[in-house]
């Protein structure tokens, strides 16, 4: 892939100057300036058009407004999931079902719906709670931790690796790969290759000796009476690797950072844990984690904007959920917010298959953390670190509490 400087492309002729706005979703200076990725998107909402073209990362659209994102994600005939990466990949990898459109999509989505159904995920609650308690108890007496390395990284990632049948002793290595697959540097393709090779080895091992894990179940899965091809099987596993090893990590970190800055919310939830479910939903709404992308599949005028085939489109979920037209007083984290019907897990057929697992993990984390750790706050002597890509990530989150 091209260097980052070469990723800046001339604005195509179908894009009017009034819709051009310079923004790099991987590393915009606005992130550092605001000190917070979500605040940067809030700033964009106030300064940029609700849908604009940026010349960065190969050149692409960015949709900020909630209504437009909802409509786009429910219109796959215009906003296709085939070849959707930003910047474009030199060789696109088919990852079922996320990189497919209806009607094929439904067939390939079916095995994941079964595997990640609310019922199946509830069966994991005991294991999740046990691991959460174990990880938290390990650091409770220290009075401080980097929440990412101590809790939010191992908890959901180990649960997911076990579910998949991945070797848990390679967690640190796999986390590096995930971040590379989400980057806009040449490391991206290399990392996809490493993930593919690793998953291919696991698939071979499971073909010889099936286990009670998701890889073994995918091998057995049939579509139209036939087992999956080797390439599709690998595609599934690559998707699950990337989707399973990063998003909930950041959902947990973003939540704990907000609570560390808002001790009254901690007190409220400790006093009444029955509010945790609502607290999780409003936290997801206030701090969306993932930004999906699409590729325009036809030349079309859409909401007054000329789109051309192969234009890439980024769905800026953080902006959509801070859009005052959709959520009044959007910066406010409001536990009592009526009607938090957010689309942080996407909307339409591609709704995040892992959403039920994510919700259960977040609810358990809130509960166990607040039970075991007294009032906590950001470490006044250290500063958190974050980065952004299609997933908004906190890399380091130093917090302290009295022991």
């Amino acid at each position: 892939m091209a260097s980052i400087a070469e990723l800046v492309r001339p604005v195509p002729s179908h894009v009017p100057a009034s819709r051009v706005y310079d923004f790099d979703f991987h590393s915009d200076p606005l992130y550092a300036e605001k000190g917070d990725v979500h605040d940067a998107f809030l700033h964009l909402l106030n300064t940029a058009p609700g849908m604009f073209w940026t010349p960065r990362n190969g050149g692409h659209w960015v949709i900020l407004e909630y209504n437009l994102i909802s409509e786009a994600m429910r219109t796959p005939e215009i906003f296709s999931s085939l070849s959707q990466a930003i910047p474009p990949m030199p060789v696109e990898i088919v990852m079922p079902p996320i990189s497919m459109d209806p009607p094929d999509h439904a067939k390939f989505r079916a095995p994941l719906n079964k595997a990640f159904s609310p019922k199946s995920m509830l069966e994991l609650a005991g294991d999740i709670r046990e691991l959460a308690a174990e990880l938290i108890d390990k650091i409770a007496a220290d009075g401080q931790c980097d929440f990412v390395s101590a809790i939010s990284e191992p908890l959901p990632v180990l649960i997911f690796m076990k579910l998949m049948g991945m070797p848990t002793d390679r967690l640190a290595e796999f986390r590096v790969w995930v971040h590379q697959t989400l980057s806009n540097t040449p490391e991206r393709e290399v990392a996809y290759g490493k993930v593919a090779q690793c998953m291919a080895e696991l698939i071979d091992a499971r073909i010889k000796e099936p286990q009670n894990d998701l890889i073994s179940r995918l091998i057995e899965f049939e579509i139209d009476g036939e087992k999956l091809s080797r390439d599709l099987l690998l595609g599934y596993c690559q998707l699950l690797f990337i989707a399973g090893l990063d998003t909930v990590v950041n959902g947990m970190s973003l939540a704990i950072r907000h609570m560390a800055r808002n001790p009254e919310l901690q007190e409220q939830l400790r006093a009444d844990p029955s509010r945790i479910q609502d607290a999780v939903e409003e936290m997801l709404r206030r701090y969306p984690i993932a930004m999906p992308s699409r590729r325009v599949a036809q030349d079309v005028e859409w909401n007054g904007i000329a789109l051309r085939t192969d234009d890439r489109v980024l769905m800026a979920m953080p902006a959509a959920h801070l859009d005052p037209k959709a959520f009044p007083d959007p910066q406010q984290y409001a536990l009592c917010r009526e009607n938090v019907a957010h689309i942080v897990f996407g909307t339409g057929v591609h709704r995040c298959a892992g959403s039920h697992l994510a919700r259960i993990e977040l609810q358990i984390l809130y509960d166990e953390w607040l039970k075991r750790i007294p009032s906590f706050r950001m470490d006044p002597d250290k500063r958190e670190r974050f980065h952004a890509a299609n997933v908004i990530s906190i890399d380091y989150l130093p917090i302290v509490w009295n022991v």
């Binding site: 159904s117 689309i343 339409g348």
Partner: protein, 68 residues
């Protein structure tokens, strides 16, 4: 006496399962977590819960019909 009915556009359910999180007795899910309930009359006393369940749907496929 007013009667309340729930109408569901099942084809557009995306399986968020938020309705069932509000009231699992009113909104029944299939094994995959998608809505299994057909349109139904809301039992007396369940009106508030039915309204909240409908509002919780991110796809906006659950409608509340109130008849006088």
């Amino acid at each position: 006496m007013s009667k309340m009915k729930i109408v569901i556009d099942r084809n557009r359910c995306a399986g968020h399962a938020r309705c069932a999180a509000i009231d699992p007795e009113l909104f029944i899910l299939d094994d995959d977590g998608y809505i299994a309930s057909e349109d139904f009359d809301v039992p007396e006393g369940k009106e508030a819960s039915a309204r909240r369940g409908a509002r919780a749907c991110p796809e906006r496929v659950i409608s509340v019909i109130e008849e006088d």
